[in-house]
């Protein structure tokens, strides 16, 4: 908290911290945007600019997305097994499940 002098009785805003943003960078044309970290910024324009300064100092990107962290909805890690394990016994979804004669096995 800042110690700057201010007129008595005028309180500092309770929530003075800039909001948090998640940063996604496309490293080069043709690739996906990939999550690379987060930062604080007052608004979206500042978030993009800070993202450029913080995450692309060495030509790591050609495009940046930012999204407010509180806008991201995520799956619950505690339910990871229930969510993702059912796929484990569906091996027939993979091409390697099917044994074909050698002469056509490249299909």
């Amino acid at each position: 908290m800042s110690q700057t002098a201010r007129p008595e009785g005028i309180a500092r805003p309770a929530e003075a911290e800039w909001p948090l943003w998640e940063v996604f960078v496309r490293s080069k044309a043709g690739l996906d945007h990939k999550h690379c970290g987060s930062l604080h910024a007052a608004d979206s324009a500042m978030a993009i600019q800070n993202a450029r300064d913080v995450y692309t100092r060495r030509q790591e990107g050609t495009s940046i997305w930012v999204v407010r962290s509180d806008q991201i909805v995520a799956s619950d890690p505690a339910e990871k097994d229930a969510y993702f394990d059912p796929a484990a016994d569906k091996v027939y979804r993979h091409p390697t499940f099917y044994r074909l004669p050698k002469s056509v096995d490249h299909m």
């Binding site: 700057t4 608004d43 300064d53 913080v54 619950d76």
Partner: protein, 336 residues
Amino acid sequence: MYTQSMDTLNKAEAAELKKPVRSAEDVAREERFEARIDAGDFIEAKDWMPEHYRKTLVRQISQHAHSEIVGMLPEGNWITRAPTLKRKSILLAKVQDEGGHGLYLYAAAETLGTSRDEMIRALHAGKAKYSSIFNYPSLTWADIGVIGWLVDGAAIMNQVPLCRCSYAPYARAMVRICREESFHQRQGFDSLLVLMQQGTASQRAMVQDAVDRWWWPSLMMFGPPDANSPNSEQSMRWGIKRISNDALRQKFVDAAAEQAKVLGVTLPDPALKWNEERQSHDFGAIDWEEFWRVVNGDGPCNRERLAGRVKAWDEGAWVREAALAYAGKQTLKEAA
């Protein structure tokens, strides 16, 4: 740049965290957590973790972040006085990197449920530590080269194993930092080589003087000896720490001793010599009293460094507020 193993969990905090776990459910969760650590799994922000693990990480990562930010001060001191435009551009880029590294690390610590403001408040109140090395002054231009060579060199040695830290957001930040960091050490060595090989006798003496002043504080960056690091064991157990303080320090001494020969400087330790049997260098005793004095606030520049950070924060308050107010107004306008 810079972390330091300091093991500064205070006794009350440690006792609180070592209380027996309460419910059977907690015991089961803790067992599952330990099993994941043993299996070499990474822990993510929203996964369940013991409170002690969380606190240890918040402390370590925030200390590390503070070190990056405070570490900008001794070098920033020389930006306007760098001898050439090339050296000035390099130093600017390096100091900017340190700021970036601080931000990656603050963000990693925030995933554990602490806020940026809370961490900064703890630093400014003198409650949070940062690496003791930044409480030494950068007196000459040669100091900038030596900081790159020895201080960044020690930091890299410390940080590479952290890329495999069990806490994934920290590990990811460290991967990014280590990738950017190797230029820091190389530019320092390069700058010293120029002074030693093309410089005058007094420039060479300036390099030797800087080496004499930075050598021992650099060795202290690895933290207290293993025998005096009671919390290290738990950190190793949890995969937060991968290699012990003394092992890393030895590795650093062995590397630096060879590099000093190439540079043509003498490391200020009469006991430093190759031990054929150990296939390592022996070296003299470190002054741990000095280390603790500096860690606990009484180094040559502690007050100046902290005052510099507090001043920057206070004087930036109106900018932070104005930016928020502007953002608020824009939102209202869009809504209208």
